[in-house]
């Protein structure tokens, strides 16, 4: 019976066509065009490529000798570790805590989540004020605590910390909500049985919550690592053009810098290819490490 309605396949074509056209025209075609662009010479953004670079792999050769590429790849990998350990780690602790309290669950859920809703651009401006050298919020707090000299949070050396802390902070609530949902799915009877057997709260967490949360933690880890590759807005607003001394570039911000600021468009295209390759490799690695288990 069900097959009868959908035996005539023509409507399916009409239903699928618009969505499919969008994906082909604005995703698949530009994706391959971009790879081609990376071998061509582009005078400016918007100009069509007319000739190949000589030799055609010029941009990729330049990449090998470009110290900023190595800085940005290194920073991106650091960013990944920070988001993985910081975001997911803090989120696990907070989720386990909230799971064990009875009052205020909903409140904490709402409050922890809400930085994600605010644009990273606005948060970047906010953190510029918070990390201001001359009496930003952080330096004022440190002063009240008795610290004598002011810290320049945007100086070389510490700039990476100043950039990554807000990125990490913003998304903790995201993984927190996923993990809390996972914890809610664990049957109350298991805890009940453990309680009767005399397990302490910590033992219940260690032997029930954490093992049963394994798959959810894996999902979060994969999302955190792949998410780190997409970070752009907040670092660009806080540390435009890789300042200080081009030490804070991430792969995304460096690609933008080359394309928009130095107008080296075809090099930007090549960097975009690098981002994709990096993404594919990392996704494979992460999926191998955090393989989901069946229970």
């Amino acid at each position: 019976m069900g097959a009868n309605i959908y035996r005539n396949k023509k409507p399916a074509l009409v239903f699928l066509l618009p969505a499919f056209l969008f994906m082909v025209v604005f995703l698949y075609y530009p994706f391959f065009k971009n790879i081609l662009n990376s071998f061509m010479h582009l005078k400016q953004l918007g100009a069509s490529a007319t000739e190949f670079n000589t030799p055609w792999y010029t941009n990729y050769e330049e990449m090998l000798h470009d110290p900023n590429v190595w800085t940005s790849v290194k920073n991106t990998i650091i960013m990944m570790l920070v988001t993985l350990i910081g975001q997911v780690g803090i989120a696990i602790i907070l989720a386990l805590m909230v799971d064990n309290i009875s009052r205020g669950k909903q409140f904490f859920r709402t409050v922890f989540f809400f930085p994600i809703v605010i644009s990273a651009t606005a948060l970047g401006l906010m953190f510029n004020l918070i990390f201001l050298r001359d009496k930003g919020m952080v330096n004022q707090i440190l002063e009240i605590l008795g610290k004598q000299n002011l810290t320049d949070w945007k100086a070389e050396g510490i700039a990476l910390v100043t950039m990554m802390a807000p990125v990490m902070w913003q998304y903790v609530g995201f993984y927190f909500v996923i993990l809390v949902t996972g914890l809610n799915n664990i049957s109350e009877e298991l805890y009940e049985a453990a309680r009767i057997d005399g397990a302490t709260a910590l033992q219940r967490v260690r032997y029930i919550s954490v093992p049963l949360l394994h798959n959810v933690i894996c999902t979060c880890s994969v999302l955190a690592v792949t998410g780190a590759l997409k970070v752009f807005d907040l670092p660009w607003v806080m540390f435009p053009k890789g300042m200080p001394l081009k030490s804070t570039f991430l792969t995304g911000t460096y690609m933008y810098y080359q394309t928009m600021e130095t107008k080296n468009v075809d090099y930007g295209a090549a960097l975009a290819v690098l981002i994709v390759v990096l993404g594919v490799i990392l996704a494979k690695v992460v999926n191998a490490i955090f393989r989901e288990k069946d229970y």
Binding site: I5, L27, Y29, F113, I118, M126, A272
Partner: protein
Amino acid sequence: MTKKKTLSPGLIVVYVILIIWALTTVYPIIWVIQNAFKAKNKILENSFALPTGDLFTMANFRKAFETTDIFGAYKSSLFISTMVALLVVLLAGMGAYALARYKFPGSSLINSLVIGAMMFPAFATVIAVFQMEFRWGLANTGSWLRNMMSVILPQVAGNMAFAMVVLTGYIKGLPIELEEAAYMEGCNAFQIYFKVIMPLTKPSFATVAIFSFLWSYNDLFTQSFFLRRPDMYSITMMLNNISAKEGTDYGLMAAVVALIIVPVIIVYCCLQKYIIKGMIAGAVKG
């Protein structure tokens, strides 16, 4: 079994830690808002004081409205994001319906193409999309509407695949008997879609629409490629621009941030259940 919980020392520690993290998410916003009401030279003296008495001033907000076209930016951003959300819901909904219900040669190929499309990072397509739209006369023109379209189209495409995956899953779970009944009454496939499927899929549409809207509203990367004329700035572009130009006027910065953040917080408080659901569903997006 209801156990009366007493406030054990362990529980107090738990609450203290949770409240500390809650403070890190809430207090910075309050701090920025309160400093937006202080003269820029007073902020530096004591930023933790409430803006009362002599400290209070509206000068920053006056300057914010003078130096930036904040209403224009709101207009652009709301237009772009609303269009993105509407187009994504409409087109992805139709596509998802076809994927969920029709079996035809090549449907598994199309399925994998959709899943593959989720993986493209915006970095990898933006230059070529700009080239293409420039050739079409969409990008970098004097026309407001055409410039808006140049942002809307790639953003719709960017959200399409994720939306189709979410919606296909949902439509597959709907009972087919309703469609059969409608078919018996003489509805064709399009009537079935608009009269049966669409109303039933509303919750999932809301999830997808909210995510697409917020993603587009908060995006800086794509918009900074396509909206380069100051009179067409969206909110994120305006923020980025003003921080580059007037980044040292801390009072103005605080006021602008407050003007942008407060409406979002209000909307979030009203719709938080749906927003959280939408954002989590969007996690699969590349």
